[in-house]
């Protein structure tokens, strides 16, 4: 039926391209021996990501990934894989969702959540590689961002607490770290961050 209104696709052309032709997928029959593997996400929020890396001379030589996730998750991980290959571990560790999103030409606001898993899985893979090879991990605390200035609590600390299952609610987080018990300015910011982390690491 005829109409004078024509829609664009849901996402940008770049997202569409990566969705239709994902790069560096981890094929089952492929002989890819990873030096480090990271997995994040949970089925509760419908996103799970696995990243495997090969490291040579302190650089990401090659990378493969798999995802149980939506179009944004597929496209942002595919884009992340292209960006990360060739980077030094330090550069790769500092890849952010915003950098990936910019390369994709943007994602709708409610889809931001889907793009944060790729770089998290990549960092987890680097952590895994360093740990397996008994190498020091100089990046982990450097990327940390102070979330509560009064109590000097970083996002990495909060993430660790959620990951290890020690924190399930904002109240538990306050009890353990004292966040947002002094000036309270960080309250909303931390609540948002916590909600995100709980979704990623629950189950």
């Amino acid at each position: 039926m005829a109409s004078s209104f024509m829609s664009q696709w849901v996402y940008t052309d770049t997202v569409k391209d990566h969705f239709m032709n994902p790069r560096n997928l981890w094929q089952e029959n492929e002989d890819f021996e990873p030096d480090g593997v990271g997995e994040v996400g949970s089925l509760a929020c419908g996103d799970q990501m696995r990243v495997g890396i090969q490291v040579e001379d302190g650089r990401i030589k090659d990378l493969r990934w798999l995802t149980y996730g939506c179009a944004s998750a597929i496209a942002s991980t595919s884009m992340m894989s292209e960006m990360a290959i060739g980077m030094t571990l330090e550069e790769a560790y500092h890849l952010t969702p915003t950098m990936i999103m910019d390369k994709l030409g943007g994602l709708p606001e409610h889809k931001f959540h889907c793009s944060v898993l790729g770089d998290k899985a990549l960092r987890a893979a680097i952590d895994d590689y360093l740990e397996k090879n008994n190498l020091p991990n100089p990046y982990k605390n450097k990327v940390a961002k102070v979330m509560c200035e009064c109590k000097n609590v970083t996002d990495v600390q909060i993430e660790e607490l959620v990951k290890s299952g020690k924190v399930h609610t904002f109240e538990e987080l306050q009890e353990l770290t004292g966040v947002s018990t002094v000036c309270g300015k960080c309250r909303n910011r931390i609540k948002e961050e916590l909600e995100e982390l709980l979704h990623i690491y629950s189950k």
Binding site: L43, Y68, C70
Partner: protein, 388 residues
Amino acid sequence: MRNVYLDNNATTPMAQEVIDLMKDNVELYGNASSMHRSGRDADTAVEWARGEIAKLIHADPKGIVFTSGASEANNFVFLTFRDLIDEGYKRNRIITTSIEHPCIEETSKYMNQRGYKVDFLSVDRSGKISLKELEEKLGDDVALVSIMTANNEIGTIQPIKEACALAHRAGAYFHTDATQAIGKIEVSVEDLDVDYVSMSGHKFYGPKGVGVLYARPGVPLRPLIHGGHQEHGFRAGTYNTLAIAGMGEAARLAAQSIKEEHDYLWSLREKLRKGIEERIPNVVINGHPTDCLPGTLDVSFPCAEGESILLYLDMEGIQVSTGSACATGSLEPSYVLLACGVDVEIAHGSIRFSLGRYNTEEDIDYVLEKLPPIISRVRMMSTRKEQK
């Protein structure tokens, strides 16, 4: 590219007959409440439509109240009982189910937050309520029972006649949201004995923005929109004449063809179901195997995520919907599937095919050709490989 529209539970295209009638009457500008000729012409159209809709559901035309859609009709009923309770009605509890459309689910939550009492019936794996649970929950404090005729996501049809009899025996009024059932299965007010029915024009090949609340003459009703004498003062606002006439024509067509259409849609649905089960390993069919809307098929593909499937199908011109969280913008998958006790992962991987009057056997063949490679592809990319 072929265009295969399989999202008829979201909305249907208008029937050609409806389009023709609306085109022919697009200059019918009179206000149906005016006494002069153009007003009377518009009023004739409204009353004709009222009669056709009443015939479709075997109801008294005097009980038909035009609204902007089924969401308004459902709010109308619930907020009527809120007002009744505020006025000191001796009964103050409402019973509904955990799988109603959001316009009832959210209205119920809104009322609960404000101190009213709305209880939710559970459903089994197939989406059916238990009459026993309803009987146990009923009491002399229950004012209203509201149960949808058929579910929009999984298509499960509820035992409305039996549930209504139980409610009436306990002295409660009975409402059914029949939005998805109208035009697909017979909904007869006479036979079911229900007091209120909600429906929407665009779910059965009529226009959008128009719906009906049927309220049996004499049952409680309080205006939702104040400010006019239209619909006996229950629903103010100038009549949306053209849309109402279009809905009337859609009702006339539905009444004519309901039996043939039911059988036709069920045969297409079964062809699709069998084809999927034959061609794709490890699939889960949601909803009730037989007490199901003829055109609705809800399927989960474990290890594959729903939004990706939806968008790969869209690239092939096949339009469906999903219960995955990703498609809704929230982080939770379909609450209907979760209420049925379906595993979260299965819910995220659900696809709803909803067939309609204008789908053909060739459409189904096309889906059966395009779907299997898409599922293998999404599963190949997935972190989840285990067969559950």
